[in-house]
Symmetry: C2
Subunit: 344 residues, 2 copies
């Protein structure tokens, strides 16, 4: 059924790629959503919106979760929702004030399973040091076996001292990642494909606000942060290059990857740069602060494998390139958007 | 399929009534959601959570919308979402700062229809004087023909002068409604049942923040406000009685109802007190300010048919009673929660 819609690439209907975090989704957002609702704040298209409130600034963000399966090694839809929303607030430089939890549940869904997922929401929220302050529950007829969709929205306070964004990035900045790539996406795909490896691939879903606060408190002049979810690191770097008109060069050998994740990606034919993470972010900071930043990050549980994977530089036309293990260079493309449906 | 789950009232599974705004839903929230996530703010179970932010107070709220059909006389899921969230903020006394928009769309959904719904979101937001500042889009496989689920969350600033809540209600307070009851629910049910009346029944979906600001600015000492959505006015009054331990007496003849809505309710066997509204609220204010409040409300487009429908009083045990047209009295029960599925 779904194939019939997407095969023809009929431009009049929603196709899977519209939700994939790639080019198609970018067009949906710009040509339809922003076209209808556009305003100065929304048009920024950042992970969270910065809005004034009296003399302070707030960050507001929202995410819906439709991941399948609902439970997977390393997490479940509840943990994913809390971490994703906390991270969207944190990479904007915000300190979370509160989360909301919207549940859409199918009739016939097991209450025991719901309790398990709610316990996971509670545990992730505790880990992030934030509370679910309000919620909403809707019940729909049983039809898809999806069982549960979750929306988490969040509000954070933005400290005066924090100023992150594309416009602060300069040539010669270091590009840092806080750990191994692709764990979440490959955990989901391995479960779906029934793959077994010596080590179970676990999702990296984790709240990054603590790690980010450590970096900011250490006085690192963070210019830009973004969590590398749908579209992966490739999507984040493509955005950086597009918005700054700078080149980004990364080095394949410096990119941390779990061996079992690499094996799964090779077996299934995925490029780990495009695979979704749920506890990984890209930081852009001044090149001369990169070693200091790395030291701070490696002291935190979610930054133990942090690495400087590349840098920004002046080049025309601006593009993202990777120096491969064999010394070659390849252009890193923005994912088109259909690689990994229902990953978050 | 769904019947098989709900017929037996097996306590281990989600049934439709868990989402209906009545007793079953109250139990789901208390015994599962609050049990897992409870904290001082969440436990209040108000329309929006009040959280401190520096010296100010914020209101945070969230709502998911699963209404069927997506478009109906007087509105659509987009207008409903904006009005519902704005109203949840406004009845807490908050001035909306920004809304988020989370879309879960089925593959194959018409982009033209999506554009129409987004235009409706934009128009309702403009009417309410608030912006959609951030959003999220997910695509799921086509399975249910529901097409689209919408989450709107919102943030508002709470003025120091505003103090509304159950605890402020006193015996002898006036109970006011801003207009006719049951329009939204009966609009949806008439479409679903293919009913035709001389006048098309239109949903009352409307943002109430302007009307509420007028009342507050006029110096009315508002003690409590709540929009009468799922569970209707009966649900709101049951909450008032339960939380204040006061009785509430209302008069059937004073309750504004559109004739075609009354006809539809009689034909389909619904009690309009339990039917959902999307542009109606209950206000509780000091009895001696009720005429003044009514004058202010009637000057606003969403308050033209405002009416004092009853009052609070000391009685043991506390209950909600309606004096009928014929002079009898009947107890107004809290709706159980299955009357009107997928109404919002």
């Amino acid at each position: 059924m779904a194939q019939a819609f997407s095969a023809g690439r009929d431009e009049s209907f929603i196709v899977r790629a519209h939700g994939g975090g790639g080019e198609m989704m970018g067009r949906l957002i710009k040509e339809h959503i922003v076209a209808a609702l556009g305003n100065r704040t929304l048009n920024e298209l950042t992970d969270g919106a910065v809005v004034p409130c009296d003399s302070a600034r707030l960050v507001i963000t929202t995410d819906s979760y439709v991941v399948q399966p609902l439970e997977f090694p390393g997490g479940d839809i509840g943990r994913l929702a809390v971490c994703g929303t906390v991270n969207d607030l944190a990479v904007m430089g915000g300190k979370p004030i509160g989360l909301s939890l919207g549940l859409i549940v199918e009739e016939g869904f097991s209450l025991e399973r719901l309790d398990r997922i709610l316990a996971s929401v509670a545990s992730a929220a505790k880990e992030a040091g934030v509370e679910v302050v309000t919620g909403d529950t809707k019940v729909i007829e049983h039809s898809s076996d999806d069982g549960l969709y979750v929306n988490t929205s969040g509000v954070a306070a933005l400290d005066d001292s924090v100023n992150v964004g594309f416009s602060h990035i300069e040539p010669g900045d270091a590009v840092i990642v806080n750990g191994t790539l692709g764990d979440h996406g490959m955990a989901i795909m391995s479960v779906r494909n029934g793959l077994e490896f010596e080590t179970v691939i676990r999702s990296d879903a984790a709240p990054l606000n603590g790690l980010i606060q450590d970096v900011l408190s250490a006085g690192v002049n963070v210019r830009f942060m973004r969590d590398a979810t749908r579209g992966g690191v490739a999507g984040v770097l493509a955005d950086i290059s597009q918005e700054t008109r700078l080149g980004v060069e990364i080095h394949e050998e410096r990119i941390p990857v779990n061996p079992s994740v690499r094996a799964a990606a090779e077996m299934l034919g995925f490029d780990l740069l495009s695979v979704a993470n749920e506890g990984k972010m890209i930081l852009v900071i001044p090149g001369d602060q990169s070693e200091k930043c790395l030291q701070v990050m490696r002291r935190h549980p979610h930054g133990k494998q942090a690495a400087i994977i590349g840098h920004t530089y002046d080049v025309d036309p601006p593009l993202v390139e990777m120096v491969t293990r064999t010394g070659g260079r390849r252009v890193v493309q923005r994912p088109y958007g259909e690689e990994l449906p229902r990953i978050c």
